[in-house]
Subunit: 121 residues, 2 copies
Amino acid sequence: MTKAKIQSKSGATANTKATCKVRSPCPIAKTLDLLGDKWTLLVLRDVLVFGAATYSEFAKSTERIPSNLLSDRLTRLVSEGFLEKQSYQTKPPRYKYIATTKGRAIRPIISAMKKFGDDNL
Amino acid sequence: MTKAKIQSKSGATANTKATCKVRSPCPIAKTLDLLGDKWTLLVLRDVLVFGAATYSEFAKSTERIPSNLLSDRLTRLVSEGFLEKQSYQTKPPRYKYIATTKGRAIRPIISAMKKFGDDNL
DNA sequence: GCCACTAACTTGCAATAATAAAGTTACTAC
DNA sequence: GTAGTAACTTTATTATTGCAAGTTAGTGGC
């Protein structure tokens, strides 16, 4: 060991917003509390539309999400039940993220956004 | 005039993000560039679902948007063609914001979010 | 005329989140 | 043992948000 810096695995970085705050009982507001930012839905798009599964596949996506935000959004999507993290290989440790039933349920939102964008932007 | 502080009408506050930046040609990403934050779609929801029209009606909404953000989002939605600002009375100056055709086009997105929220949250 | 009140905003500032760039860990292949 | 890749972290800087208070323009009461 050249550096001796074991350090806790759970060290969260700057981007760990309080996902527990509920603004209102409105289903639209509750949905926005989970997905209402610039990156979360793009990660879900990569999974559901483009078939991305690994960290590096998300990172290669055209919008170039910063690596710490990708890490944060993946962690969040897993903890909220949209994605599941699976280890598919241990000997280099490799992971893939797959959509859960709840994750696939946002597909209509993405479709609606795609149609809006195609028609109006 | 008790204070003599005319000051320019165009003084933009802190919240004036660069709405011109285009991350990618993807219609979903372009839609998120416009609507991808916690408040913009709620303002549009207030217009399209709850029939809100005036500044104070938006401000009274259950999620309690800060007034500077409401001001910023209304300005932005008007400048991007989602809403139109109409003066309906001059003698107290009063305004109402109404959805344009483009504004009404985001209705399917809101409906999809409502359904997702009702089914999953 | 003066005071209270409402609508529609602005301004200032601390707190929070986003961005960019560099660093880390755990391997494989040459 | 040097280079390279995947999957992350860390640090430092910049931008956005949230809150409180202030402003402008006008109405109604006394």
